[in-house]
């Protein structure tokens, strides 16, 4: 039961407080050494691992893109032979879509959602850890095979029959199909973790209609993942079984159907791009709120737009298949749906513009990237409406026009907001501000470079240049635009390099960030930068939709959570009424072991079906350990209080708050 009591000091810690905080630090500490790295369940540590890993894959994907642009800079170039080029474009798409875009959105959610909703960790910390390891293993699988010249080469969507047993011999496509399994399991784990946290672990007072838009975006995205990922799991499993055990899902000679693959893949594939895009909408709402120093205009419309986009996103997939022999009336339905989805996106942009109109704009790098988003994504969205039209699509489908469109919406719609998010939240994650000056260089190089690469591609597509060609003949007149695009790629790469330089520079020389350098409104900005392992010493009671701006002088908090065990508050779904004191498991080896069992199943499974039987036994063994083993609520691994930490880990938060 819950009581209200008075007489707690608001602006100073008593000795009892200090002792409690020391206990909290001990209980929540990460075990030392390499074992600590493998067993740590702290959502912040796991999220930062996701960020670093995904960013490394982003750089790999960028290198692959650079290789493609070098090959295509001149007609009949011999920089890459066709076999290598086909591997490169396949691995580029696969890396960017599966190993970078989705995981990095998961990463930001896993880091920020518990902080924004006022929890000490996520709902399922060990599942979170497992999700990361499975993702890492999948990425390693892909790249080891690529380095060994057995990288997949059938395109990132691997249409059958080209990817089937008849026309893609060897293990290349099998590796692709199994890598899909890893990244899909990881995404699903992330989604379950995020939904569980958002629904059940919010601070008291944070009812659903006070949820930050960032959190709404993560919630909506996670539900999309839940309903979309099974489709790609089936598509890749059908493909793998056609290849490995001679099933006939896609073999027309035995009643199978090549178009079945396309339906199954795109039923996932279209929501996938919204899974990548919608979290970025959350970043933008956070950044606009802070840098316009104003509450978002039309909160309800924004939430409904997010939900509408998610629903509509499931009804568009056939627009990837307009050139196949499907009935025209059916196709027209998908034209209508594909155009309709522009409406909620439009509403969001109008609301952001309305928020910023007449506001006190603080033009910092995060906001620059948001403005870049507006320019680039709106253009991409408009070409998307063009592609939605069946007759027009029949000309521009599978040409460089589509390459231009997809990069405008994905880079404009997700990568630009992501870089804005980096500049915004890296101070929170690392305790250092990035350089504004380098940030401006970063932005402009990326913006100009991006447009130079991809704008000409609209033209190239209309002039007849198809996709996924390793070279082209000189008589088409495509040479100069391709050269321009390749030069733009260099500039874009420079922009990304500036970001890396900025990050490294800031580690040493960046201004030290206090709790709330941007004067922002969400709860993560009430904690030190970076936050302590336990996040909140006292979970706040939220009083409005902009938690820190609506905080009264009284600043009510929650007391009564244990400091000798890892405990956080579980509240009700709609109104965040306290219900349970939830015990969170501490450092544990089982997620890693489960990931290794999963790895055995699906990697050895490329070669023999017995791997599944062995994997089942291994998995069961791990579950015995997981179930019967010690959940480590008191973190027995952390016997001593932690050694002298960097100054910013001290709990000075409450003293640093505003006014």
């Amino acid at each position: 039961m819950v009581e209200r009591s008075q007489n707690l000091p608001v602006d100073a810690y008593t000795e009892a407080d200090e002792r409690e905080i020391k206990e909290l630090e001990r209980v929540w500490a990460c075990p030392p050494g390499i074992i600590g790295w493998f067993t740590d369940t702290d959502h912040k540590a796991i999220a930062l691992r996701y960020v670093v890993t995904a960013f490394v894959f982003f750089l790999f994907g960028g290198i692959e893109a650079a290789l493609m642009r070098i090959q295509l800079a001149r007609p009949e170039n011999h920089f890459l032979n066709p076999d290598l080029y086909n591997q490169v474009f396949t691995v580029h798409g696969t890396t960017m879509m599966f190993l970078f875009a989705v995981p990095i959105m998961t990463a930001l959610g896993v880091y920020l959602v518990p902080l924004m909703v006022g929890a000490r960790d996520v709902a399922f910390p060990r599942l979170n850890n497992y999700g990361y390891f499975v993702y890492l293993i999948g990425g390693i699988l892909l790249y080891v095979s690529f380095i060994l010249n057995t990288g997949p080469d059938a395109g990132w969507f691997a249409y059958v029959p080209l990817s089937g047993p008849g026309y893609s011999p060897g293990k290349r496509v099998d590796i692709w199909a199994q890598m899909i399994t890893f990244t899909e399991i990881s995404a699903l784990c992330g989604a379950v973790v995020v939904i569980g946290t958002i629904f059940k672990m919010r601070a008291p007072g944070m009812s659903l209609h006070r949820l930050p838009l960032f959190v709404w975006a993560q919630l909506v995205t996670s539900f999309m993942i839940i309903f979309a990922m099974p489709a790609v799991m089936l598509a890749s499993s059908f493909l793998a079984s056609d290849r490995l055990i001679d099933t006939h899902f896609f073999n027309p000679a035995e009643g199978g159907d090549a178009i079945l693959y396309q339906h199954m893949f795109w039923f996932f594939g279209h929501p996938e791009v919204y899974i990548i895009f919608i979290p970025a909408l959350g970043f933008i709402s956070s950044i606009v709120t802070t840098f316009a120093r104003r509450r978002i205009f039309g909160y309800t419309a924004m939430v409904l737009s997010l939900i509408a986009t998610a629903f509509l996103g499931f009804g568009l997939w056939v627009h990837h298949m307009f050139a196949t022999p499907l009935p025209q009336l059916g196709q027209s339905f998908f034209t209508a749906a594909s155009m309709m989805i522009a409406i909620p996106s439009g509403v969001q942009i109008f609301c952001w513009i309305a928020t910023m109109w007449g506001a006190k704009l603080n033009i910092k790098t995060p906001l620059l990237f948001v403005l870049g988003f507006v320019a680039i994504f709106v253009l991409g969205g408009l070409t998307g409406v063009m592609l939605a039209s069946v007759p027009l699509d029949l000309q521009i489908h599978d040409t460089f026009f589509v390459v231009a469109h997809l990069h405008y919406v994905l880079i404009g719609g997700s990568v630009f907001p992501l870089f804005g998010a980096f500049y915004y939240w890296i101070p929170k994650w690392t305790g250092r501000m990035l350089s504004e000056r380098l940030g401006h260089w970063n932005f402009w190089l990326m913006f100009i470079g991006f447009n130079l690469v991809f704008f000409p591609m609209h033209q190239l597509g209309l002039q007849g240049m198809p996709r996924r060609v390793y070279t082209y003949l000189p008589n088409g007149g495509w040479g100069s635009l391709n050269l321009l695009a390749s030069i733009g790629a260099l500039i874009l790469a420079l922009g990304v390099a500036v970001f890396i330089v900025n990050f490294l520079w800031a580690r040493r020389f960046g201004l030290i960030a206090n709790a709330n350098p941007w004067n922002a409104d969400t709860l993560e900005w009430s904690l030190a930068s970076p936050p302590p392992d336990y996040n909140f010493y006292r979970i706040p009671v939220v009083e409005g939709s902009n938690a820190l701006w609506d905080r009264s002088a009284e600043n009510p908090v929650v007391v009564g959570l244990s400091s000798t065990k890892r405990e956080t508050l579980v509240t009700s779904v709609v109104d965040a009424v306290p219900e349970l004191r939830y015990e969170l498991p501490g450092p544990s080896i089982w997620p890693l072991l489960l990931a290794l069992a999963t790895a055995e199943t699906f990697i050895v499974g490329i070669f023999t079906a017995w791997a599944f039987a062995i994997g089942a036994v291994l998995t069961f063994g791990v579950f015995i350990g997981w179930f019967f083993g010690d959940p480590n609520y008191e973190n027995v691994a952390a016997k001593e209080p932690p050694q002298s930490e960097e100054p910013h880990r001290a709990p000075e938060v409450l003293r640093a708050e505003n006014a």
Binding site: G155, L162, Y167, I349, S389, P391, L392, Q395, R437, G464
Partner: protein
């Protein structure tokens, strides 16, 4: 935080630079518009014409929308209020909120109207593309996609008038042509941008597309669905010619292969029939009847070889026959090591097959 004002000139300067950059890019790119070959914006038939008109309509409207949205964004950067970053935000007045709500609703309504217009135009154009019409005067052609060439067959009610060729299609001008599309191995896509949009060739299924050329000319097409190693080099030509010319071409194609006249050509035929060529190629009127590779009965009448990759002249033919893997690595034709006199004879023979 006043150093922020030093790095960017001010909000206005920022926006101006953005606009300038965009204009520069747009101007430089649109002035490089050109090249009608294989271009969807250079229509030569009613389908591509209608699609092209749809394109220009959508482009103009979308450009206006883009300029408006961007313009509004730039203006709001200019109009930003002044104030210290440390003040807590105040709430907007109800009056201002109501005004903004009205504008947002109006903008949304405008969006819906524009999308509705696009939808209607798109549906009407689409219906026109697939409308059944009087094809009595028309031609039917079957195209089968292979890795990485196009098998082209002209069916006929009279069995003796059926013939097969490869990679080069002739059609009469001003007459609807129905293409029946099949694939023998993987998915390909038949696309001749000057004439129409594309249609996929899917193993196990038959798709249909009809198009028409209104002007005589030579139109290039290219496979538009990734189909493996040499997807980049799987192109085709459509020759649209006046009816008489088309009929003459057709009559010639129906004939069996020209019999070799000179000694060299006879020797060449002998080389052909006694080497691995016959395991893949057909020459009507000889014993070579395999269907793995293109039909060579009238190979010398074609303008290009290797799926519109190489000009059809003696040197290119020689390098192709000698080692096609150097030109299209991964294609299904093995290198052939002929002695020089065999090669010359073979070339004489092949070049006689008009």
């Amino acid at each position: 935080m006043t150093n922020s004002k030093r790095h960017i000139l001010n909000g206005y300067g920022n926006g101006q630079r953005l606009l300038a950059v965009l204009l520069l890019i747009t101007v430089s790119l649109t002035t490089s518009c050109g090249g009608g070959l294989q271009s969807a914006l250079n229509p030569a038939g009613p389908q591509s014409q209608h699609i092209s008109q749809l394109w220009w309509f959508m482009l103009i409207v979308c450009t206006v929308v883009f300029v408006v949205v961007l313009g509004v964004t730039l203006v709001l950067l200019v109009k930003k209020a002044q104030g210290s970053p440390d003040e807590l935000p105040e709430r907007e007045s109800a009056e201002s909120q109501r005004r903004k709500a009205f504008i947002v609703v109006a903008a949304t309504a405008a969006t819906i109207v524009i999308l509705g217009a696009f939808l209607v135009d798109s549906f009407l154009v689409g219906r026109g593309l697939t409308a059944a019409l009087d094809r009595k005067q028309g031609v039917v052609i079957e195209v089968t996609g292979h890795q990485w060439w196009w098998e082209v067959r002209y069916p006929d009610v009279d069995a003796s008038s059926i013939f097969t060729t490869a990679n080069e299609i002739h059609i009469p001008v001003g007459v609807p042509v129905t293409f029946t599309l099949k694939a023998s191995d993987v998915i390909h896509s038949f696309w001749v941008p000057n004439l129409h949009g594309k249609k996929d060739l899917i193993p196990g299924k038959v798709s249909t597309i009809w198009l028409q050329a209104d002007k005589p000319g030579i139109y290039r097409g290219q496979c538009a669905e990734y189909c493996g190693h040499q997807h980049a080099h799987m192109a085709l030509w459509i020759f649209a010619e006046p009816r008489e010319q088309f009929d003459e071409w057709r009559r010639n194609q129906i004939q069996s292969a020209v019999k070799p006249a000179s000694d060299s050509e006879k020797r060449g035929q002998q080389v052909f029939l006694t080497s691995t060529c016959v395991t893949c190629h057909t020459i009507n009127g000889t014993s070579a009847g395999a269907n793995i590779g293109p039909n060579l009965t009238h190979v010398a009448s074609r303008n290009t070889i290797a799926a519109a990759t190489l000009p059809n002249d003696r040197d290119h033919l020689a390098s192709w026959v000698d080692d096609s893997q150097q030109i299209k690595p991964g294609n299904r034709m093995p290198p052939n090591k002929f002695r020089p006199e065999e090669m010359q004879a073979l070339l004489d023979y092949l070049q006689s097959l008009k």
